[in-house]
Amino acid sequence: MTKGYISLVLHAHLPYVRHPQYEEFMEERWLFEAITETYIPLIRVFENLEQDNIPFKITMSLTPPLLEMLDSRDLQEKYIRHMKKLIELSEKEVEVTAEEDRTKNKMAEYYLEDFKDALNLFEKKYNSSLVSAFKHFQDKGNLEIITCNATHGFLPLMERYPNAVRAQVKNGVKTYERHLSRAPKGIWLAECAYSAGLDKYLAEENIRYFFVDSHGVWFGDTQPKFGVYRPIITENGVFVFGRDPESSEQVWSAEIGYPGDFRYREFYRDVGFDREDEYIKPYIDSSGVRLNTGIKYHAVTGRNIALGDKDYYDIDKAKQAALEHAADFANKKIEQVENLYKAFDGTVPIIVAPFDAELFGHWWYEGPFFIENFFRKLNEKEVLKPITPPEFIENYIDSVQISTPADSTWGANGYNEVWLNGSNDWIYRHLDEMIERMTEISNTYKNEKNQLKIRVLNQAARELLLAQSSDWAFIMTTGTTVEYASNRTKVHVDRFMKLIDWLKTSAIDEKELEKIEWLDAIFPEIDFRDYIME
């Protein structure tokens, strides 16, 4: 007998990093690594489960910038080139490691096959379009793809400007529709960040549900009878699913979390750093900056063990660990729904477990294998079944509690401080100024017929949206690649101001406009009129 349901929610996102004017660009590797280590392995998991007739349900947000990048011809070409080089490196690694160590050599051979297979899947099987692969599983009913606000802008800090929030939501919906040929039912609000009133904009776009962190539901304006284990609905009629804190802790926690198992692969040892200069030079950044190649030979090994003292990684042992963890997770979730079902007096609970998709595969190498086996384990019993949020709404809700969630995010400590602190607060005066100018200029030109001017206005809207990506503020807080994040903010502010000045002075540099349109070629269907304020 089924006593409850679980929704695994994977938030797949990368900021829009595309530099077509350069043959290679270090930060574009973020996408390439995510494709090889997370998106392709997940697609393989879906394929395996489909083939074995295992019913699985995953809710996945593919954010607009990610969709645009996955669909970009030049990034696809670059990815193929990147993979060819990686395969070349792997071939060398097979030779080199044959002289070094047997476990290492086994892994080198594994990587070579794995990368070849990934390239084949990408280039041949899905014709360079991973979006089509995800779409396939959505059409089959296993995958529920949701959208995100346009550039993953941090909405609570722009709530004073309804038009800015609206443009974020609208472009999130439009981009989804263009890539996935249907309207999105749900949305992942960037950084799981909700502040009072945001649900209104979602309702305007016919979005039926979104997610908040646990305390968003707990501290809502009425106490939620079922806690985070059944959705609530806002006054504007949008369903809200709260994050299950236990699932997050089981996976994330530094102390007890699965990814810390000693048998798993160590992220921070990579041949990109370990090999000698001359040998590795062609495979790292052309500036000589060393970076992760994805070829790693070491295991976590133990707590407080220096990187230099780690043991070699054995994928068979690691897979054994992932099998154990998948079974353990399934058992814990089953126990959890049994308790909840009892506490709720026979009302079925839903456990919502959201994660960054890139955790699986990129950070936790064995993560996709864990997911696959979690669904296999669930399939052995009736008690707990996977489900998507809309299926739960359709089938298991007669009445729903009305409540407004509390302002909250899934960032450290649960509020806004990751995106607003001494390392990044300087950006907001510029972002706000951009919104104010965008509003002013949109009002002025609302009936504009001149195509060139409309292009300038639309491009200004793109620059504003790109500057608003929460990623830049996040990176400044974490302290890695801060310069890139800071430069991106500055470049988009600067391009925006330039475009606005052209309109004011009626001196449009058409060539420069074309160049900017080419460089920041996101959201072809954008409409600056979204920024008009009556």
Binding site: E23, T222, Q223, D398, S403, E433
Partner: protein, 313 residues
């Protein structure tokens, strides 16, 4: 690479756009064949990418006059036989810069399948990163909630206000950020629950303020205290609301019947199986720890913080 073929495969809308860009006379009334013809005439003198990069290479390697002449001919630059070397270089470079912008235009086609070869920018990746304005010369103070305990304020002045502030300071009067607790009231400057003053010196542009209540609303003003001890406000912020960090005490709960659309009210019995609420809500100590590089507690009791510096990093 035949451009004609490419053109014939393009949609009329795109051809029209291209024609508009290239300022083809009367493009808007042309049919597809005419557009293709007009555009392919235009394209004849367009040099292919391989050539252009070869030309740039030659130009960079101190070319001889006969090489320059050859290049100029290839590019369709007309010149007199007695032309000076420097003048020829100038003309060629001018033409190259034109072609380079063409290159940008054409590269756009790259994103469509069957796109053309890209001649990548081989320059260093040290693009000029623009410096942003330090002020937009607007009178403005903005309040943003950081978490249940902290607010962030930033402000900017018009020239007029800036001058006024400087005058005030030169008279040895003090300038302040005054924060009002305006929870559940319509603020009229006299009805705030409480208020606090923070002295702001010259040049300061933002402030972190510790506030006592979660789920509360705050407004701030910037002003100065005049000779008579009166606070004279110059700018007022929006109202910022700190997030709730505890369970609601509301005694009623509302339910929506999905099928009928009926809304029902009943007495709230609270949450079934109350969760352990740890790790949520924060202490200022944790907040300070997180940004200890950037934020320093400068006042007694950790009541407020300010950032070192304050300019763009």
């Amino acid at each position: 690479m035949s451009r004609n073929v490419d053109l014939k495969e393009m949609k009329v809308v795109d051809l029209r756009k291209l024609a508009q860009k290239r300022k083809v006379h009367g493009y808007y009334k042309m049919r597809k064949e005419e557009l293709v013809e007009a555009l392919s005439d235009e394209s004849e003198s367009v040099i292919e990418y391989e050539d252009i990069s070869e030309i740039i290479n030659t130009m960079n390697s101190n070319p001889k006059i006969h090489q320059l002449r050859k290049i100029a001919k290839k590019m369709g630059i007309s010149f007199q036989r007695k032309i000076k070397k420097n003048e020829l270089i100038l003309r060629i470079n001018r033409e190259i810069s034109k072609k380079k912008t063409w290159e940008v235009v054409d590269l756009k086609n790259y994103s469509s399948p069957g796109g053309e070869k890209v001649n990548f920018n081989k320059e260093n990746k040290t693009e000029n990163i623009p410096e942003l304005k330090k002020t937009y010369l607007k009178d403005k103070i903005v309040a943003l909630a950081v978490n249940p305990e902290f607010l962030y304020f930033y402000w900017d002045f018009s020239n007029q206000t800036k001058k006024l502030m400087e005058e005030v300071i030169s008279k040895n009067l003090k300038t302040y950020l005054r924060v009002y607790d305006v929870t559940y009231i319509i603020f009229n400057r006299n009805n705030a629950h409480t208020s606090w003053d923070y002295e702001i010196g010259k040049g300061l542009k933002d402030y972190y303020v510790h506030v006592p209540f979660a789920n509360a609303s705050y407004i701030a003003e910037i002003g100065y205290i005049n000779e008579n001890g009166l606070f004279i406000p110059l700018l007022r912020s929006n109202s910022a609301h700190t997030p709730q960090n505890s369970f609601s005490e509301r005694s009623e709960e509302k339910w929506l019947e999905l099928e009928s659309g009926f809304k029902l009210s009943c007495t709230s019995k609270g949450i079934l199986s109350k969760p352990k609420v740890d790790n949520i809500g924060i202490s200022s100590a944790e907040f300070g720890k997180m940004n200890e590089k950037d934020i320093k507690i400068i006042s007694g009791g950790g009541s407020f913080m300010r950032k070192e510096g304050g300019e763009n990093k």
